[in-house]
Chain length 159, copies 2
């Protein structure tokens, strides 16, 4: 009981964000996106293959990069939600690598890039009303990654 | 009449490719994608804002990067179609910059990156059954680009 009053309820935040994304982003609905996990350091999103196929019958590159971009955005958003910080969050740039075709339902894992920490993001927001961080996402398969994304996000405090 | 028997019918190829994309890629249908122009050097794709909004009511980053990725892919595909080359075309990697929000229906223009030419792609296909090229795409607005993408595509001859 003590812990639950100090720690944010990550499951509730995750479910609320999933509902918000599905309500407000038509393409996320079309993709069948779900947020399947969040532990404070990483977030996991999933999508079924069927609505995300390409002309070859494997996962459409646009679906992979979209899910990775939303996963990075969700990682930042959930960190800010857990602190009660209301911000608008934008993706600034990204580098994407497509390494292997995906022939099944897929998942994205997003976490901060190496050397990044949320403290810098929060400090920037507190002192300048604007914070940045770099996120790394990947689409894991049994034998390696199908795709990776490294992206910078900017959070701007709502005034 | 003479020219039409030598030059490929670019409008027919463009319409056939649009129909194929819409038939085979559910997310392209969800985005309302259309191929609005092709002159042999550049291809233009368009999408309405409504099915592509994000939580802020402007264009979703996933829609922008998806449309740019499909535009690059379509540029390569139409160049190969015009030669009658049947290939599978894959995006290998991309760098994306999100520069300004998009509050309206939007368009993507794709052309080969500076210093690239289709001759190298065709040569690779003829000699090794595999060709590569780098494409540059942008989402033009009245006062500059809303987003840019630089991507490498690989074409593999169908055997």
């Amino acid at each position: 009981m003590g812990a639950s009053s100090i720690e944010p309820d990550r499951d509730a935040l995750r479910r609320a964000l999933e509902a918000e994304i599905l309500a407000e982003i038509p393409l996320a609905r079309a993709m069948g996106l779900s947020i399947t996990g969040h532990d404070g350091e990483s977030v996991r999103l999933a999508a079924p293959l069927a609505p995300n196929i390409n002309d070859k019958g494997c996962a459409f590159g646009g679906s992979l990069v979209s899910l990775m971009t939303v996963a990075g955005w969700a990682l930042v958003r959930l960190a800010l939600d857990a602190r009660g910080s209301a911000c608008d969050i934008y993706v600034a740039d990204s580098e994407v690598r497509y390494l292997a075709p995906v022939w099944q339902d897929f998942e994205v894992v997003a976490r901060l890039a190496e050397g990044e920490d949320f403290a810098s993001l929060f400090d920037g927001l507190a002192t300048r009303g604007k914070g940045r961080c770099r996120v790394r996402c990947h689409v894991p398969l049994a034998d390696g990654d199908a795709a990776t994304l490294s992206a910078r996000f900017v959070a701007i405090a709502r005034t």
